[in-house]
Symmetry: C2
Subunit: 566 residues, 2 copies
């Protein structure tokens, strides 16, 4: 006999009030509806209803990964230090990594992602090109010691993730594995009922080349992305690249020095000269692997140090200190200009295109210069887009002003290339009998985060409101309270369950109908069936949780309709 | 279209030779057949076939836990120190616990079992007797820093476990929750196809009262248990209790001192007097919470300090050192006898029953005494069974000589009582409106260990040999090698898969039939279907992996038979 989940037996305690520490909608509602409970900062328990939702998401992920021929495995979460030391990530992860020692002093970490270990597993298992391509995945507990764990299960320190890895002998093979994952991810997020965008991404600490993020737009999101209202362009803000468009600079006059006392900042300079900040050229000095480098951007824009760091990785970017100016009379603080910096590498934003003219420092205290033309008066060593993106910046594809939006990163796909294969010398014997270095992809979905993203996108004023495939049940049956109503509710529930419908029935004694209705709305199962005032006639009410539409129906009809749907 | 697992795509590398470090059958075969791979001492990866077997075990466990009304949750593995400090287990676990710090210096552990956290979750969720009873379970990764991780996945440092916890307001309720778990465990192990025994157990570091272990007899087992060849008695060796049977000691003569120079040990004494060691009384001095206590056992038996510790817990038992004898002229090393120890608590094995007479120390150097009668010449403060059990010891139930056997502990059920509820003041409002302290049970199944136990019990000379419910597939189809054979093999496989049969097909090109047959035997799927020499006639061979029986059948008949079975 199929099981009905009775609220009288279910371990659930709904809360009327938002938890004091909750800022985001999903955090508030998942706690209030009894899906999750916090054990420590960023460390959560999934209670019975939450576990069902988590399992539903995992099932969808698993089915779509199986469909593209990926093979499920389960690797350990407790990992030895050595492979992560070999890849450099033992250091690179910094404080984000949970590190520990065993009783013998051996060093371990709790896996944040598993590139190293999968590489080693495949190195052990595959010896010939015939063993490849292979795609492996796991749905596993991951660990990251976030500096500010918050937003409930949206950014936990222990969380559930699907991570997969592809292994190919050719670049074309990697592109195909990447394409298969991209399609699987589209199917997964569509089935989950998530609104999402695919955006170009930089690859972060992971290394590698082609990379896209799957973002679920939500106010609670910690990621910012841009999209174009006119074309299909969308990107992580760090991945936006302004095109380099040289202009004809022949009409500009010669460089002219200006006496500009006490104007060491763009603000003071623009005010002194009564020009817009955008007419000036700001030159930020940084150290790249210890060497001083100047970075030029329009005076009204900010340098995005994250973007700069990504462009120059693996070189390390640091800010300069007062000591760095010692013994460097060529560097005049507050009055630096690229036209006099022969000994310094000059990186400029593409907006500083050849032919554009600027007001900038004259490399003398209290002095600036105007009509300083890029390509004529100074040379840009590297044009790199390093400014913080702003709403209204032109779309790199069509020029329309971009929008800035917040989103939750729910998936990420990478073409890693041979970074890890090089580290661990992962070769297979090729068709010509010679060793071939393997090329890899790495792909992730935040499974527990997807639950929070779904809650963010689908909840309404009454509470959670799950898509059917993900909901902890199909129907929430409410017994209004009297014995006959409870009897009918239990009977209908069992009929539905026997027909394969997943049912929660609120059969609690001593709980008012009002509380039961409020709880049903909060819990967010797609259909609510009420055995209420017309119980004697054998009539129940069906309510659509999302639309609020109600309808009274004889029991048999209600059962038939709900059974047909599932 | 249902999926067929093709060996040409499967990530598997079978090995002809046993891994050098493998001692047990399951370790050797699970590695050789490509089910698991070692990442570090006691830390393993489950490869595609291994993951399927692990999932099958989990599914059976989940179905039977759901059937008794237990609710599935998922608690974190990374746990804050404080609750474990409150329960005392932060210290008690010693080196067995993996401990770590987060970026802020907060102390954490990797959960070995979750009594503390479940108690806190229920304290948060349940407030009234109406919220109980409740049974909660999870299938989760657990951590124990074993001193000697070995035997493959049989004793890992990271492993999969089903742990569950029951919460009741009455002792009768706890007994019922315990009974439900006991039945569920019987169903689980029967369905898994495990040969097992239920034995009485002591509760170890867990605290509490009634407790039984589920043991799977196997040569590789690390547990020893006794069972009676004549009756149904079976017990963990530490739980065996010899009955106290007083005898009539009236016929014994008076105590008589013997000059026994240089006989400080039982061996030297028995030789000097030419009596069996069993005629002598051995008195071991220990410290219990710092106080010296004497423990008497027959001279031919060893004291089991583990058993003694369990009897006296939570008191701490230590061995005495030379310093403990300072200022104690009453304690004559090597010549201690209970008849002169008025100031020392005397614990004796039940074999030292009232009326029995012994040769023992006379509390003078070089001197023993004979005809020292228990109850006449000395008083036993506590009769506790503290000897190491030996084969042939009488069954406590029927007196027949016991057998000693090795086994793998696959399950454990405990009536914990109120230990954790007391620690965390877990009360609910009772029916009379007053707080009632909750009583708990705790229940565990080693899920990954069950896979190893099954491998141990079912494997044969050819390799693994899984019961159908647990096997990674129902049928292993072997294409002998020619194109027509491969074509037929793939066709049969697809027909079977479409009918719901789980199929692995060995479609590898360039692999000899002999290697394919050897791999099929090693992998251990219940039925092997060969598309071989009679392929042209449309005839295949069916082989039962366990019995080795073979039969040739037309394809349609073979498919019909295999479909009917699944």
């Amino acid at each position: 006999m199929a099981q009905v989940q009775r609220m009288s037996k279910l371990m659930i305690k709904t809360l009327r009030d938002d938890p004091a520490d909750a800022e985001t909608l999903s955090h508030k509602l998942l706690v209030r509806a009894g899906y999750v409970r916090r054990n420590a900062a960023g460390i959560w328990s999934w209670l019975p209803l939450g576990k069902k939702v988590l399992d539903n998401v995992s099932r969808v992920v698993r089915e779509e990964m199986d469909a593209i021929g990926a093979q499920e495995v389960l690797l350990p979460a407790l990992l030895p230090k050595e492979p992560y030391e070999a890849s450099g990530r033992w250091e690179e992860y910094g404080d984000l990594l949970f590190r520990l020692k065993d009783r013998k002093g051996g060093e371990y970490l709790l896996g944040p992602t598993h590139e190293e270990i999968f590489t080693l597993v495949v190195k052990d298992q595959a010896s010939s090109y015939k063993d490849l391509p292979v795609m492996l995945y796991q749905i596993q507990t991951k660990y990251r010691d976030e500096a500010r764990p918050r937003s409930g299960v949206l950014r936990g320190r222990e969380f559930q993730m699907k991570d997969s890895y592809s292994f190919d002998t050719t670049d074309e093979g990697l592109a195909e594995s990447y394409r298969l994952h991209r399609e699987a991810y589209q199917n997964i997020f569509r089935r989950l009922g998530l609104d999402y965008r695919i955006v170009s991404a930089v690859s972060g600490a992971m290394g590698g080349s082609a990379s896209e993020e799957f973002l679920a737009p939500a106010a609670a999101g910690e990621d910012t992305f841009v999209d174009c209202p006119a074309c299909d362009y969308a990107a992580n803000t760090e991945a936006v690249t302004f095109p380099l468009n040289p202009v004809d600079g022949a009409a500009h006059g010669p460089v002219e020095e200006l006496d500009t006392p006490d104007t060491p900042t763009i603000e003071t300079l623009a005010e002194f000269l009564d020009v817009p900040a955008s007419a000036t050229l700001k030159n930020l000095l940084v150290k790249v692997d210890g060497e001083i480098v100047a970075v030029g951007v329009p005076g009204d824009r900010e340098v995005d140090l994250g973007k700069l760091g990504e462009h120059l990785a693996p070189a390390v970017v640091e800010l300069v200190t007062a000591e760095d100016f010692e013994g460097r009379p060529d560097l005049v603080r507050g009055y630096v200009g690229p036209q006099g910096l022969e000994k310094v590498r000059y990186i400029a934003d593409p907006r500083i295109a050849p032919g554009t003219a600027w007001i900038t420092g004259a490399n003398k205290p209290g002095t600036h210069a105007r009509n300083v033309v890029a390509g004529r008066d100074f040379t840009v060593d590297d044009h790199l887009d390093v400014v913080v993106v702003e709403a209204g910046d032109p779309c790199p594809k069509c020029g329309t002003g971009l929008r800035l939006d917040r989103a939750i990163e729910i998936g990420h796909i990478f073409q890693l290339g041979r970074k890890y294969a090089d580290t661990f010398q992962l070769d297979v014997l090729g068709q010509q009998g010679k060793p071939v270095r393997v090329t890899m992809g790495s792909y992730g979905i935040g499974v527990s985060r997807a639950v929070a993203a779904l809650a963010e996108q689908t909840a309404d004023d009454q509470g959670l409101c799950w898509p059917r495939e993900i909901a902890p049940a199909d129907v929430h049956v409410v017994a209004a309270g009297k014995a006959a109503q409870t009897e009918l509710a239990l009977d209908v529930s069992q009929q539905l369950a026997d027909a394969g419908v997943r049912v929660i029935v609120d059969d609690r004694a001593g709980v008012s109908p009002g509380v039961k209705f409020t709880d049903a709305e909060l819990i967010g199962v797609p259909t609510i069936l009420v055995a209420g005032r017309r119980t004697a006639e054998g009539v129940v009410e069906l309510k659509d949780r999302r639309t609020g539409e109600r309808e009274e129906l004889p029991v048999a009809e209600a059962v038939a309709r709900l059974t047909a749907r599932s």
